[in-house]
Amino acid sequence: MDFVPGGELSRRIREGDVSAESELIRQFEPGLRVLLRRRTGGDHGLLQDLVQETLLVVIQRLRGHGLEDPEKLAAFAAQTARNLAIASLRKTERQRTDIDSAATERNPDTSRAVEAIAEDFEAALAVRALLRELPQSRDRLMLKRFYLEDHDKDVICQEMQLSEAAFNQALSRARRRFRQILEERGFAKRDLLNLGL
């Protein structure tokens, strides 16, 4: 798909071009998801809310007085997302200190939360399939140590007696297969539908 530069998007939205707003959402949503995923600790409901809120703030700003430097639209959207994530975190912290006893006795809305964690389930199912396919336990342990235990690549290579090239190759193979499994199961397609593409 064609990429529309930030300056042009800003100008068109300011002029009332609705298709430019759709284009902005299409272009920015993947990056905002990355940024907010890192800051929402696996709470996909919150992630989705913050993505929507960010896009709304950005579009309203462009419809109004616009940006000083329209070419920096992506950086503005990213900073807006970061600010909203910080504000949301502060709000949650405040709520934790203001819990009333009546609220704790109410039943939680588990259905929404369950949907929110479904995406991680899908990824976990794909990981499980991937782990089954990896013939060597060395590769499985390597993934665990690198992604979950924060071990440095050179330490893992040294302890597992691997060259850096072999490590990168195994990692790349695992990554490629993970993506393939997700796509085979239709998860990636569903993600695209969620994004409205």
């Binding site: 299409r26 039943n107 499980r128 992604y147």
Partner: protein
Amino acid sequence: MNQQLIEQYVTGRMSEAEAAAFEDYCVANPEFARQVEFEQRLKAGLKMVASGSTAEFVRSAPADRWKIAVAASVVLAVVAGAFFWQRLPGLQPQILAAAPVNDQHEFASMRLALIRGVESLPQLPEGQVRIEIVGLFDTGFHYSIALDRLEKDKSIATVALLNGQHPTSPVTLEVLIDSTQLEPGSYFLRVRKQASDEEALDFSFVKT
């Protein structure tokens, strides 16, 4: 931007300033952002699998599958025994039972899931209740489900046990609880994958 930077970002090896510059680039480049998101999902998936058990990371190679087949046969025999045992009238109180498949009977229902940050517990409705346990299940295995009660002295008493339950989907396991046979109190369903060393998962609820 290259794969090394993606790895550094996803594994938290970037400074805040570097991460901010990386994020600005992601927002401006949707295709690149999708690559990063796959990496984030790989990490999230690994984390979720590891939270259930680390056994999947250290299991032996597929050459040992015949052993699994033998174990599965034994499990199957046990399951078959349990299945017929539970259907013998008068021998087993049906506090906890397998959820009927495609049953026309309308049961009350309750959904249980492990949700971070939830501060109140679901409340078990009256009567026969279909319990939908939401988690990550391996459809190739059977699960045992224990209904445990938390006593006043904080000890745990097992009220009922059901073996050989098969997940209805990779994320759902269903059972039936007769709430009329339960005293008020705090309970949890302990779900364990049979023939594996994975830790059990506990799903709490209350009966009023």
